[in-house]
Symmetry: C2
Subunit: 240 residues, 2 copies
């Protein structure tokens, strides 16, 4: 039986972290909200009474009777099933911790263009966004990316993957974060990437994995755009 992924149609967003794992793992899955009538079906599932717990927000994954919400939770569940998690509870717990740091980073990336609230358009919170994005680029981006670089350099199995001795969903997610940051903040990333050579290597290695390479060239891969988490507003990028 195939997995059903539900996420807002038209943007890569948080759904993309799940798609990359499903694609690399060769999973049988349906990108359900992109099917005809799929968005209505998604909204119905979110409002349905009954069920152990409705999701607060997309993405969520349906596997038989189980509905799983939150990217890190979905990936923790899928990881061992798709051969994308390390062996053993210890390393899996560490992978989950790393994924949750990615979750926090992604939320901060989102908030550069929405520092006041998601119920308002970017244009109505632009002065605040300019200030928040400047702080993000000077303080938070180096802190998070520097941290991930350090994790790679400290991995006792070598710097080719974030945890253990094989590719995991954490590496796939970091590929997507780098892609998104390059789209959103090209000048800042151009200036910063020399500081994170191992992370760039992991990104490059993920990009050319046969299944990922083929996925990226397919129409299943959605392009970044200004409705997504990663938005390119030149005024928020590094100036100079």
């Amino acid at each position: 039986m195939s997995y059903k992924l539900y996420y807002w149609d038209g943007i890569p967003g948080r759904g993309e972290f799940v798609r990359l794992a499903l694609e690399e793992g060769g999973a049988d899955y349906v990108d359900a909200a992109r099917e005809p009538g799929g968005t209505d079906e998604m909204l119905k599932l979110m409002k349905a009474p009954g069920g152990a717990a409705p999701p607060f927000a997309p993405p969520f994954l349906v596997d038989g009777d189980l509905l799983i919400a939150h990217v890190a939770n979905i990936l923790f569940y899928l990881g061992p099933r798709l051969g994308l998690a390390p062996e053993g509870e210890g390393l899996r717990t560490i992978a989950n911790g790393l994924q949750l740091t990615i979750t926090d980073f992604v939320a901060e990336i989102h908030d550069t263009h929405h520092p006041i609230g998601v119920s308002h358009y970017y244009e109505s919170q632009k002065p605040e966004a300019l200030r928040r994005a400047a702080d993000f680029l000077s303080e938070r981006l180096p802190k998070f990316l520097g941290y991930f670089e350090r994790v790679l350099s400290q991995n006792s199995s070598g710097p080719n993957q974030m945890v253990g001795d094989r590719l995991s969903y954490v590496d796939l997610s970091l590929f997507q974060v780098i892609e998104g940051l390059r789209y959103a903040f090209p000048r800042a990333m151009d200036a910063y990437e020399a500081n994170i050579p191992r992370l760039v290597d992991v990104h490059d290695a993920v990009r050319v994995r046969p299944r990922i390479y083929s996925y990226l060239a397919s129409e299943r891969r959605l392009a970044f755009n200004e409705s997504c988490i990663f938005r390119h507003y030149p005024e928020l990028d590094r100036q100079s």
Copy 2:
């Protein structure tokens, strides 16, 4: 061997979600950063080279050789060991999803007083905080609390707990969220709580559990204050 919890001394903060589970579970644990020299030890662990993965930030838990970062990850690990998780992978996955929604909610609560960045004082981002807090109270607080209320009402095992048929760490965390919101936004909570009777019942039931009741009266329980996630700035609360 006892668990070692590391979190910034002097504030309940995110560490409190872990403390409540350790206390209710009757765990043998040390609140390590509150011991003499403990904060230095914590900072050393965060900077130490080697180890499978250093934590990005406190709280983290040390159990023997394993260092576990992020509240939801720590609780997922501790839950079954302390009798505070539901039975079976399905319900545990649902509990984890609920805890991650709490994580997101807590981050939004924090950002009401720090909408621009953690590297700046509240006073230097007060205009933005006033706008963000107003949006939070009108849009986000009802959305999150209304969601948790709905989860309780839809639980097929009854509305006395968030998931399954027994107390879990999710209920303990929601107790703390309600406590924190009452501290930070007393006027807003006073006006809103009639909408969430089941959630208030869960809060009240947690508060009088013998181990929690005794913990809350002890000096191990830290008071809320204005260095914490939950801060009482009257100007950010509901006006009138």
